[in-house]
Structures are given as C-alpha cells and as structure tokens.
C-alpha cells in the first residue's frame, strides 16, 4: 500500500513537471530548450511510475507457481 | 573570447573549459555526448553486476555464477576510468588530447575484461588488444600529420575555413578510433560481451560508440 502511494506521488510530480514545462514554454515563460530537457527527464519517470501505480496490488501478494 | 567556428554541425557553443593550450568546448552535440557518458559512468558506479544464469543442456538444471568481489572491484575501477577517459574525449578541443583520451579508452577496455577467467573471452580480448595496439599508429599518425601540415592542434583553429586538413589525416584519425574502440567490427567485442558484469561490460560499448561519434564530428567539421 505504501509503495502504491509513493508511486502515485512520483507519477503526479513528474506529470506536473511535464505539463508545466510544456505550458510555460508555450507562453514564453521558460526557455524552450530548458522545457525540453525537463520533459526528457520527467517523462520516462512519469511513464514508469504511472504503470507502477496502477499495477501495484492492493492486497497481500500471493506466491506465483513457477512450475518447479 | 572563443567563438566556435562551425555551428552547423554540432549546434551552438554552450560553454568553454580552458586548460592552458587545450580549450575544451561543450557544443549542443558534445554536451549531449558528455551527458550520455556521465549517465553510464554513474550506472557503472552505482549498480551491482548481474548473476549470470547458466543452463545445463538436456535438463531443467540451472545455476548462477559466483561473483568474485576482488574482480568486481577491479572491473568497476576500470569501468570508471573508461568513463572518465570517454568524458575527456568527447569534449576535448585539441586533436592530440583527443587521441590520448581515445588510446586510454582502448587500454581501459582491455582492463575491464582482462581479469575475467574464461579462455574464450580472453582469446577475444587478446585479439582486440592487438588491434587496439596497432591502432595507435594511425591514431597518433593522424594527429601528427595534422600538426605537420597546419601547424596547430587546436580544433578551434582547424575548424576555420582557412585551415585545410589533408584527407589522409582524417582517414588515419577515423581508422585509429575504429581500431581503439572497434566501432564497426564487433566480432571480438561480441565475444568479450560473454563475460559477466553487465554495467562494466556495457561501458566498453558506450565508450567506443561515443568516441566514434566524436571523431565523426571532428572529421566532418575539419
């Protein structure tokens, strides 16, 4: 549950960074190259953290049967 | 004080780092290469090697290989040295300095795999070592021809239109980097990759690709 929470936090923060950088660059508040670097850094984190958040199980994990 | 003469190849100049006669520069291109090298050097510093799984054929048995801590430490040291040499090579503003860094890349690449105890890997590393040694001749030869014909080693001077670098110097530089980093022919390197220690073995590959990218920029700009 705790990991789910932290994944959500990371996803939210990096998502906000991406969107804010794009918006600020569009209205000329931020240099375009700086916004691009911010998005390049934040977007991969956002994708992985988002997936981690929605794939994290809420209950107790059961042990998968591997077959051996 | 310094103005990069060629900006239509690697982008505009961002930052200049002076070391006496050697003036390193960060253009968009070299800064990006520098960042790449930095990322993978950092990975070599922080990550532990993988445990290689071997399968016994004809059955379900599999086992993981042991990691020798001494070997691990040495490989990491060499990988970091390799990263530092790559960092130097990608931003160098001087032909001779660049060739020195490239030959250091070649030596550290050997160092990363030299201590690995596997006959097949060592055989490949030996062949690679021979080529890396041979390659210093065209590499430094290229730099020497540049100096002899133009009277300067500074890339800032060489990039200007007034200075003509002979074709043979360019060919030698590319051949030298190809030999040190093995950029296109990877036969020996592919066999080297069978060694354990992913983050460090990866550095072999990173360094050779980055110095190759750099020499392409240098040769086209000259």
């Amino acid at each position: 549950m705790k990991r789910k929470q932290s994944a959500l936090t990371i996803a939210t923060v990096s998502g906000i960074v991406c969107v804010a950088a794009a918006i600020f660059a569009a209205i000329g508040y931020l240099a375009v190259w700086l916004a691009e670097i911010l998005i390049v850094l934040a977007f991969p984190v956002f994708v992985i953290a988002l997936a981690l958040w929605w794939s994290a199980s809420e209950g107790v994990a059961d042990i998968p049967f591997i077959g051996y | 004080m310094f103005n990069l003469p060629v900006t239509n190849i690697g982008g505009s100049e961002l930052f200049v780092l002076e070391f006496g006669d050697i003036v390193n520069y960060f253009s968009v291109y070299t800064a990006a290469l520098f960042a790449f090298a930095l990322i993978f050097t950092a990975l070599a510093i922080v990550s532990r090697p993988e445990k290689m799984v071997d399968i016994a054929f004809g059955g379900d048995a599999y086992y993981t290989k042991e990691i020798d801590p001494g070997l691990l430490r040495f490989q990491r040291f060499m990988a970091i040295a390799c990263g530092l040499a790559t960092l130097g090579a990608v931003v160098s503003g001087d032909v001779f300095n660049f060739t020195l860094f490239v030959s250091m890349v070649g030596i550290t690449n050997i160092g990363i795999v030299a201590a690995y105890k596997n006959k097949h890997v060592l055989n490949a590393a030996f062949q690679y070592g021979i080529v890396a040694m041979l390659a210093t001749v065209p590499l430094f030869g290229g730099a020497a021809i540049v100096l002899a014909t133009t009277g300067t080693l500074s890339l800032w001077e060489l990039y200007t239109a007034a200075v003509a670098v002979p074709l043979i110097a360019k060919i030698f530089l590319v051949l030298g980097v190809m030999g040190e980093g093995m950029a296109p022919f990877y036969i020996a390197k592919a066999e080297i990759t069978r060694a354990q220690g992913a983050p460090f073995i990866l550095m072999v590959h990173v360094s050779s690709l980055l110095v190759f990218l750099r020499v392409v920029e240098i040769v086209i700009s000259m």
């Binding site: - | 130097g88 020195l100 030596i107 690679y128 021979i130 041979l134 080693l153 074709l167 043979i168 036969i187």
Partner: protein, 154 residues
Amino acid sequence: MTRPGLVISRISRVLSDYENLSALYALLVVGGVIIGIVTLPFIGYDDDQLYPKTLDPSSSLHPYDRGGEPFGTTDVAAQYPENSPYLGYVTAYLTPFSAFLADSTMHLGTTIVSHPGGITDEILYNTRGLDTVVETSILFVAFAIAAYLFRREE
C-alpha cells in the same frame, strides 16, 4: 574449409572469426596508407610549428640544460597565451584547484604537486597541461592492469 554458399555468407564466415580481426584491420590501414601515398605530393607542411623543433642551447627549454634561468620567461609558442598567464614558468599551467592552492599557500602549487603529470610537464613543455595528465593516466591504468593480473592469485 570452403563450404558452398552465396558470396555474402562466404564473406560473413570470414568476418565472424575474430582470429581474422587484425588482418581485417590491417587491410583497412593499408588501404588508408595507399591513399596517403597517392596524396603525399599534394601535402604542404607548415613551417610555423607550435613548438620549436631545433635544439637551441641558449634557450632554457633546452632539455639537457640544467643551468640557465629557471624562472625566467622563455619563448614558448602557445596557442592561447592568454590562458597561461605564467607562460614560460614551470607553473604555467595549473588546474583550477591547484591554482587555488598556489594562491592560498606558500608550500603548495608547484607543478610537481599540482597533478601527477607535473614532473613530465616540467620536462616536456609548459603550455599543454591536460596532455601530461592524460599521458600519465594512461601509464597508471596500464600499470594497474598489469599489477592486478600479476597479484590476483595471492
């Protein structure tokens, strides 16, 4: 050894053997050298070399001269003299850190303590500091590999 196959797979068979690697590389270098020999007559040399080529006994750069004016100004041709304010001195080049040391204390900041290449720097030339650092680093790495390989069984 010659198995049947297309030309491509025959070439592939040669390429895939790393024993052929140095031969392959030699072939490329020979190709380069041939181009070099052909273009040799068209290459002009630059008379204005970066470093003086002839030995001048009166110069304090003279490698075998241990007398002379040790801290006097010498005629070193530097690409960027403005980067080496102490041109001609043995401390002509200092890394930013060792420049700080040299400024803040009387005991540190000579070339010898400023970086491992200090001594080589002093003997070779005064303007190309980073080169000597890299040269000695290469030696150091080579020694480290040899020492590790030699001692690892202990």
